[in-house]
Symmetry: C2
Subunit: 262 residues, 2 copies
């Protein structure tokens, strides 16, 4: 049975009582609205650790746009059921007041990678991510923490955080899961209408194609996408678009680009 | 005998080999140039813990002014002798490259208290302090960490850091030590000429007097001090001055203010 904890104090007391110090703890931090992408992280954690902790916390500081936060899909009861079904040991679901007892006075910032790609289009987003990840790592004190490659920039920033601040945790990267039509599995997909959902597949298809970023942008714009960026880095291609206001991101290794099949 | 460690890896390996996980570890972080103020922190740590770790690291990121960093008194061999004499168990003295392997990309910032008093006059100073303190706490993983009330604003900011980021360490505050003439003991005092050193006592005397901050500023300026701030908060009076370019800070509880004896 999944045990649900709402406060830092409750988790810490349990950590001592259950003598978790001598066990390997896997940790999967999420914003909730769990889907099979999250499930793959949880399953990996269950396989690699004695104990798995899942956190569901819709972190307000990583949403610069209040409307975006408001519309983010939240489904606590379904998430708790998912945790139960998968066999998660502990579900940590704190309030904002619990995580930010003095507001947002202290934060972690990164001044290079966090300013590009998604960071350029969502100012302050990664400050919020890094701040909450650091807090959660301090609270949970896991052996391993699991992050999806779907949010590759976030993954890289968390890896840098762990390295630069000498955190004693292994960051485990898990591959992006995709729907049959190629669209990356994401909580935000639930916000798409049926026609938008069908159209969204084009984003994944073009991003993974051998075309140049400029061409991809033009093609997506012609098809009604609002394109934030399509950008190649050394080994990876990154893209972010909006479809009827709903933001979708994705990334693929450059050496996986495919000829298009039409 | 004090054991000297220069790298994070060496300390971590030793921490495991010496089975320090089950001992109480006291930690005294310093910039070096140890004086009896530091000695009082070290003695307190030795009394309260099984093991005491002293760090000597002249943290570049808390000096916005290169000349200030250059002129800061450094005396590694004397510091190592002091550590030996006092009975410090481990001396952690990393290089800048060890502490900032990727430069200063990641940092901790605080956006209220860190902007006032010393923060106003030394932009970025407390970002550097908080960043290095967090790194050191992650590396050393002490039970208790010792900070002097001489740097009261720093002490308050570190307390907030520990609270807001859920760090599992007790912050122990140690009272300011003073010379016979009242001047707070500080590494920077060594930079004062003899006449400046005599004059510096006036700063402590006026700060601790019942006069109003405005009056104190006027008086100090009349005596050749360059005054950065003299400022009362709820319970404490804070001051920072320069004497021939050398920066001195001090603070006293408001309920300790004395009538002047002339």
């Amino acid at each position: 049975m999944t045990r649900c904890l709402h406060t830092v104090g409750a988790w810490r007391r349990l950590r001592v009582r259950a003598d978790l110090d001598n066990l390997e703890i896997g940790f999967v931090p999420t914003l909730g609205a769990l889907h099979r992408g999250h499930a793959s992280l949880i399953e990996r954690s269950l396989a690699q650790n004695d104990v798995t902790v899942l956190s569901v916390f819709l972190n307000p500081t990583q949403f610069s746009d209040g409307a975006d936060l408001e519309s983010y899909p939240a489904s606590f009861f379904a998430d708790r059921e998912t945790a139960e079904r998968l066999g998660v040991d502990y579900l940590f679901c704190p309030s904002s007041e619990e995580m930010y007892p003095n507001g947002y006075r202290y934060r972690v910032v990164e001044n290079e990678l966090s300013r590009s790609l998604c960071g350029e289009h969502r100012p302050g987003h990664f400050d919020g991510v890094l701040t909450v990840v650091l807090k959660l790592l301090h609270i949970i004190r896991p052996t391993r923490a699991y992050f999806g490659e779907k949010d590759f920039q976030q993954l890289e920033l968390v890896r840098g955080l762990v390295r630069d601040f000498f955190l004693d945790v292994a960051i485990v990267a898990c591959p992006t899961l995709r729907h049959e039509d190629g669209l990356a599995v994401s909580s935000r997909n639930a916000l798409l209408s049926r026609p938008q959902r069908r159209q969204a597949a084009l984003f994944a298809a073009l991003l993974g194609s051998r075309r140049q970023p400029r061409e991809i942008r033009r093609e997506l714009e012609a098809k009604g996408f609002e394109v934030e960026y399509i950008q190649d880095s050394t080994h990876r291609r990154f893209g972010a678009v909006r479809l009827g206001g709903i933001r979708l991101i994705d990334n693929v290794p450059l050496d996986s680009l495919m000829e298009e099949t039409r």
